[in-house]
C-alpha cells in the first residue's frame, strides 16, 4: 500500500511539470506586452525595456520558464499588479474560500448522489426510481448559475431564510454558524449537477453488479437481501463510482467559478474571472496552477481509495 502511494507520488512529478509547462506556455502566448500593460499606455520605450529586463522577459523562453519554475518552487509567484500584493498571498486566501465551498459541495453531492443511486437501483422502475431519475435529469440539465439565482429569489428574497451573498455577514458575522448560513445556498447549488452524475452512475453500476455471477453465489449461500445489496453489490459498484467522484471534483471546482460569481463568494474562481478582465497575467497563472495541482492531488486520493477497494487494480 505505501509502495503504491509512493509510486503514485513519484508519477505525480512529471504531471505537475507538464501542468506548469502548459500554464507557462499559455501565458507566454498571450498577445500584448505585459510591461506595457503594467506601465500603462503612456510609458516611454526606455521604461518598458527596463521593466522587461527586470522581469526577465528579454531572455529566451526556456530560460524564462526555468527562472519562473525556480521562483514558483520557492513560493514566489510574483506580484499582482492590479491588487498590488504578492500573488501567492491573494491566491491562498481566495483558494481557502473556494475549498470551503467546493469541499462542502463535494461532500453533499457524494452523499446524496450515492444514496439516490442506490435507492433508484434497489427500487428499479418503482416510484422512488422514477422520482430520482427525474430529479437527476433536471439536475444535470439545469444551468447552475440559473439555479443559484432561483434559489436566491426563493430563499433569500422571498422567504428571507438565508443570506443571498458573501461568505460572512458584514456586521457581527465571522463565526462558524454565520459561515454555514452563508454556505448553504451556494453549496447546494454547486452540488446539484455533480450529484446527478454520481447518482446516475451509482444506479447503473449497481444494476450492472447485481447481474453478476458472484451476486448469485451470495444468494445461493443464503445471504440475506440486505447483505447482497449493501455488502456485495455496493462494494463492487463503488469501484466504478470512486474514480467518477474524483472527476466530479473537477466539475465542482469548475462550477465554483459560476457559483462564486452568483453568490459573491470571495473564492478563487471569481478572482480568476476578474484577473482575466484586468489582464493580470501573473494572478491568472498562479491561480490556475494552484487549483490544477490540488485537483491532481485529489484525484490521487481517489485512486488510492479505489486501490484499497479493489485488490485487482495493479499498482
Amino acid at each position: 500500500m505505501t509502495a503504491y502511494v509512493f509510486k503514485r507520488l513519484v508519477a505525480l512529478i512529471p504531471v505537475l511539470l507538464g501542468l506548469s509547462i502548459i500554464v507557462f506556455a499559455i501565458m507566454a502566448l498571450i498577445p500584448g506586452d505585459p510591461a506595457l500593460a503594467i506601465l500603462g499606455a503612456y510609458a516611454t520605450p526606455e521604461n518598458v525595456a527596463r521593466l522587461n529586463r527586470q522581469l526577465g522577459l528579454d531572455q529566451p523562453l526556456p530560460l524564462q520558464y526555468l527562472t519562473w519554475l525556480g521562483n514558483i518552487l520557492t513560493g514566489d509567484f510574483g506580484r499582482s499588479y492590479s491588487l498590488n500584493r504578492p500573488v501567492i498571498d491573494e491566491v491562498l486566501e481566495r483558494f481557502q474560500a473556494t475549498l470551503v465551498l467546493a469541499g462542502a459541495a463535494l461532500v453533499l453531492c457524494t452523499l446524496w448522489g450515492v444514496l439516490a443511486g442506490i435507492v433508484a437501483a434497489v427500487r428499479q422502475y418503482g416510484w422512488a426510481d422514477r422520482i430520482v431519475t427525474f430529479i437527476v435529469l433536471v439536475g444535470i440539465s439545469i444551468p447552475s448559475f440559473w439555479l443559484g439565482l432561483l434559489l436566491i429569489l426563493l430563499f433569500a428574497v422571498e422567504l428571507r431564510w438565508l443570506p443571498a451573498s458573501g461568505m460572512y455577514s458584514v456586521y457581527g458575522g465571522g463565526d462558524l454558524p454565520d459561515l454555514l448560513r452563508h454556505l448553504v445556498l451556494p453549496a447546494v447549488t454547486l452540488s446539484a449537477v455533480a450529484a446527478g452524475v454520481i447518482a446516475r452512475l451509482t444506479r447503473s453500476a449497481m444494476l450492472e453488479v447485481l447481474r453478476q455471477d458472484f451476486i448469485r453465489t451470495a444468494r445461493a449461500k443464503g445471504v440475506g437481501e440486505r447483505g447482497v445489496v449493501y455488502r456485495h453489490a455496493l462494494k463492487a459498484a463503488m469501484v466504478s463510482v470512486v474514480p467518477v467522484i474524483g472527476v466530479q471534483a473537477g466539475f465542482v471546482l469548475s462550477g465554483a467559478v459560476y457559483i462564486e460569481t452568483v453568490f459573491q463568494w470571495p473564492g478563487i474562481g471569481r478572482m480568476l474571472v476578474n484577473a482575466i478582465s484586468t489582464r493580470d497575467i501573473l494572478l491568472v497563472q498562479g491561480g490556475v496552477l494552484v487549483v490544477a495541482a490540488s485537483y491532481v492531488l485529489f484525484n490521487l486520493c481517489a485512486d488510492v481509495v479505489q486501490h484499497l477497494l479493489d485488490p485487482r487494480v495493479q499498482a
Binding site: 504531471v15 507538464g18 501542468l19 502548459i22 499559455i26 501565458m27 502566448l29 498571450i30 498577445p31 437501483a121 434497489v122 428499479q124 435529469l137 444535470i140 440539465s141 444551468p143 447552475s144 448559475f145 440559473w146 439565482l149 432561483l150 436566491i152 447503473s204 450492472e208 447485481l210 447481474r211 455471477d213 458472484f214 451476486i215 448469485r216 453465489t217 451470495a218 444468494r219 445461493a220 449461500k221 443464503g222 445471504v223 437481501e225 456485495h232 462494494k235 463492487a236 473537477g250 466539475f251 471546482l253 469548475s254 462550477g255 467559478v257 459560476y258 460569481t261 474562481g269 474571472v273 482575466i276 497575467i281 490556475v288 490544477a292 485537483y295 484525484n299 477497494l309 485488490p311 485487482r312
Partner: protein
C-alpha cells in the same frame, strides 16, 4: 464449452440504423425530448422570418416592461429591448455555438482517439499522456486560460469549450477503438488481405461510430451549458450581441426588481438541455445493445413464481429432493422461451445424479430453479414443485428460502473467477457462508473456514484464506467454491458444470476430490455437465436433457452402454473417445429447436431417423423401459419389453 453463456440474453444484435430510430421513438421520454428539441430548432431556424422586434433596438422609455405587456409578449429588459426577440435570436446563437463546439470536439477528439487506439504502442502512449495532462485541469480553468489568451468573445468561447472537450472524446473513442482492435475479426480482416487503412475505414470505424454518436448526444447539452456559462461570466458573447448566457448574466443584476429578465433565458437553456439529454439517453439505450431487452433489469431475490400447474398429486417419494414437473420460462416481451419443461427427477440420499445435455438444453436453468435462483425478470417458474423432504421450496417466501439456500441445498458454479466476489478474501467469503446459517463468532468461523480450505486440500490454508480470488489458480478457486458449498454440511449439492472451465489435469483432481468428499459425507449431488466422460467418473445415475425436457434416465453405465433414446445414442456416437485412433464421426444433422418455437410433438423428430407421424402428433410421455430406466420415445432402442 462455456454453457454459462446460455444464461446470457440471446444474441446482441448491432442495430441497423432503421431499428435504432424505431427504438428511440418507442421510448416515450426520448420521443418527448425529440419533439421539444425539434420545435426549438425549427423556431430558431425560422426566427429571421418572424415578425419580431429587432433584438438590439433599445427604447429607454419602455424599460423593464413585465411579461404580457402590449407589443412585448415577454416584456423588455433594462434597455427596453424586446425579450421575446432577444430570446429567439439568443437561442439561435446558443444552439449554433453549442452544436458547432460539439462537432469540432467530436471530430478532433475522435481522430486522436482512433489514431491512438489503432496505432497503439508508442504513439498511443505519447498521445494519451498529453490528453491526461489536459485532463489534469479542472476543465473550466483550461477554458478560462484559453479565453485569457484569445480574449473574450463568443467565437473564442466556442473554441475554448471545444478544446476543453477534446480530451474527453479522445479518451472515450480510444477506449472503444482499443476494444475493437483486439477483437478477432480484425485479425480475420488482415488475413483477408486488407490493408491497415482499409481495416480502419471498413472494420474499425463502423464499430466505433455508435460510441461517437453516443458520446456526442450525451455531451452536446453539456457544451451548450458551458458556452452559456462563459457568456454569463462576460467572457463569451459581447454586447450588444447576446446569446442566452449573456442575457442571463445581464439580467442577474436586475434580479430583485425584474426577475423575468433572468429567469426567462435560464428557462430556455434548461428546456434545450433537458430535451437534448432526454433524447441523448434514448440514443444511448438504442445503440448500446447491453441496455436493451431489459438486460439491465435487477434480478429479484428469488425467481418469480407463477404456477399454472402444481405438478402431480403423487405423494413424494422418500427422497431428500424430488422435483415434480418443474417448468421454467423466460418471458421476453410477447416471446416465451420454454427453457425447462415439466422436468421430474429425484435424488436419493448420498446419490450422485448427472444431468447431461448440450448447451441450451436447460440444464443450468433446471439447477438454478431448484432454489429459485433464476434471474427474474425475465425468468418465471411456471409450474411444478421442488420438494425437499416433501415440503415445497417454491411455496416458501424469499425469507424462508434464504434459510434453505446454502444450508440444505448448496451450489457450486462453473467459473469460479466470476462466481466469487473479487473484492473479498476467500476466507471472508467462507466466513460469510458459515455465519449465514450458524451463530458463531467471527474468529471461530475463520478457524472453520481454514479447516474447510484444508479439507479441499488447498496447500497452506491459513495463508490462502487471506488471498483474493484472482490470486489463486483456476483449480484452487474451484476448490474454494467446493469448500463454500460444504460450509454448512448440506444434504444436497447442486454443481453446475463445476469442472468445465478447468484444464483436464486440474479437472481430474477436482473430480477426485468431489467424489471422495460426497462419499465421506453422504451428500447427494446433482451434477450438471455436457461431458459424457465426466459423467462416467462420478455419477450413479444420469438424466439426459434435450430442448428443456429429460428424454432419458437410468443408471449411468446402462444408459451409456445401451442408450434407449435415439438422441442419446446419436450424441454418444459424436463423442471422440481416446484410444480409437483416427475416425469420422456419426454426426447428428441439424440443430435443436429454438426454445421459443418448440414443436408440439417430439422435439427431436426433425433430426431423428425413426421419426414418423406418431412422433409429431403430440407430447411424448416418458416410458418405463426397464427397472429404473425411462425414455421419452415411442420406439426406444433398448430394453423394449
Amino acid at each position: 464449452m462455456t454453457s454459462a453463456a446460455g444464461i446470457a440474453p440471446p444474441a446482441e444484435a448491432p442495430p441497423p440504423a432503421r431499428s435504432a430510430w424505431r427504438l428511440i421513438l418507442r421510448n416515450r421520454l426520448a420521443a418527448a425530448g425529440l419533439v421539444v428539441l425539434a420545435s426549438i430548432i425549427l423556431l430558431a431556424l425560422v426566427t429571421p422570418l418572424l415578425p419580431l422586434h429587432p433584438p438590439n433596438a433599445t427604447a429607454p422609455a419602455n424599460r423593464l416592461l413585465p411579461p404580457f405587456s402590449d407589443g412585448h409578449l415577454l416584456g423588455t429588459d433594462h434597455l427596453g429591448r424586446d425579450i421575446l426577440a432577444r430570446l429567439m435570436w439568443g437561442t439561435r446563437l446558443s444552439l449554433a455555438v453549442g452544436i458547432s463546439a460539439t462537432f469540432i470536439a467530436a471530430l478532433i477528439g475522435s481522430v486522436i482517439g482512433i489514431l491512438a487506439g489503432y496505432t497503439g504502442g508508442r504513439t498511443d502512449n505519447t498521445m494519451m499522456r498529453g490528453i491526461d495532462m489536459l485532463m489534469a485541469f479542472p476543465y473550466i480553468l483550461l477554458a478560462l486560460a484559453i479565453v485569457a489568451v484569445l480574449g473574450p468573445g463568443l467565437f473564442n468561447a466556442l473554441i475554448a469549450v471545444a478544446i476543453v472537450n477534446i480530451p474527453f472524446f479522445a479518451r472515450n473513442i480510444r477506449g472503444a477503438t482499443v476494444g475493437i482492435v483486439h477483437r478477432e475479426f480484425i485479425d480475420a480482416a488482415r488475413l483477408s488481405g486488407k490493408g491497415r487503412l482499409r481495416i480502419l475505414a471498413a472494420d474499425v470505424l463502423p464499430n466505433v461510430l455508435p460510441v461517437i454518436v453516443i458520446t456526442m448526444s450525451t455531451t452536446v447539452g453539456w457544451m451548450i451549458l458551458e458556452t452559456a456559462g462563459l457568456s454569463f461570466l462576460g467572457l463569451g458573447s459581447q454586447p450588444p450581441q447576446a446569446d442566452l448566457g449573456s442575457m442571463l448574466g445581464e439580467g442577474r443584476r436586475l434580479l430583485m426588481n425584474a426577475p423575468h429578465v433572468s429567469y426567462l433565458p435560464g428557462l430556455v437553456i434548461f428546456l434545450i438541455v433537458m430535451s437534448i439529454n432526454l433524447l441523448g439517453d434514448g440514443v444511448r439505450d438504442a445503440l448500446d445493445p447491453r441496455l436493451r431487452a431489459g438486460a439491465l433489469a435487477r434480478p429479484a431475490p428469488m425467481t418469480a413464481i407463477d404456477r399454472t400447474d402444481m405438478g402431480t398429486d403423487v405423494a413424494p417419494v422418500d427422497a431428500p429432493l424430488s422435483v415434480d414437473h418443474l417448468t421454467t420460462q423466460f418471458r421476453l416481451g410477447s416471446d416465451t422461451h420454454h427453457a425447462v419443461n415439466e422436468v421430474s427427477l429425484s435424488l436419493g440420499r448420498g446419490e450422485c445424479l448427472g444431468v447431461i445435455g448440450e448447451s441450451g438444453s436447460g440444464k443450468s436453468v433446471t439447477a438454478l430453479s431448484l432454489a429459485a435462483l433464476v434471474a427474474s425478470p425475465p425468468g418465471v417458474i411456471a409450474g411444478g414443485r421442488v420438494l425437499l423432504h416433501g415440503s415445497d421450496l417454491l411455496s416458501k417466501s424469499a425469507r424462508e428460502l434464504r434459510k434453505v439456500r446454502g444450508r440444505d441445498v448448496a451450489y457450486i458454479f462453473q467459473d469460479p473467477l466470476s462466481t466469487l466476489h473479487p473484492q473479498f478474501t476467500v476466507g471472508d467469503q467462507l466466513v460469510e457462508a458459515i455465519r449465514a446459517h450458524r451463530h458463531m463468532s467471527r474468529a471461530a468461523a475463520w478457524a472453520e473456514a481454514v479447516r474447510l480450505l484444508d479439507l479441499v486440500r488447498i496447500p497452506n490454508p491459513r495463508g490462502r484464506a487471506r488471498a483474493y480470488p484472482h490470486e489463486l489458480s483456476g483449480g484452487m478457486r474451484q476448490r474454494v467454491g467446493i469448500a463454500m458449498a460444504l460450509a454448512n454440511a448440506p444434504e444436497i449439492i447442486v454443481a453446475d458444470e463445476p469442472t468445465t472451465a478447468l484444464d483436464v489435469t486440474v479437472q481430474a483432481q477436482v473430480l477426485d476430490l468431489m467424489d471422495e468428499l460426497r462419499r465421506d459425507r453422504d451428500t447427494a449431488v446433482l451434477f450438471i455437465t455436457h461431458d459424457f466422460g465426466v459423467v462416467t467418473q462420478i455419477c450413479d445415475r444420469v438424466a439426459v436433457m434435450y430442448a428443456g425436457r429429460i428424454v432419458e434416465t437410468g443408471p449411468t453405465r446402462q444408459v451409456l452402454e445401451d442408450p434407449a433414446h435415439p438422441y442419446t445414442r446419436k450424441l454418444i456416437d459424436c463423442v471422440p473417445v481416446l484410444g480409437s485412433g483416427r475416425r469420422r464421426f456419426d454426426a447428428i444433422s441439424g440443430l435443436p429447436p429454438a426454445a421459443n418455437r418448440l414443436p408440439r410433438g417430439c422435439a427431436f423428430a426433425e433430426r431423428c431417423e425413426l421419426a414418423d407421424a406418431a412422433c409429431r402428433a403430440g407430447p411424448i410421455a416418458m416410458h418405463e423401459i426397464a427397472a429404473g430406466r425411462q425414455a421419452r420415445c415411442v420406439r426406444p432402442l433398448a430394453g423394449t419389453s
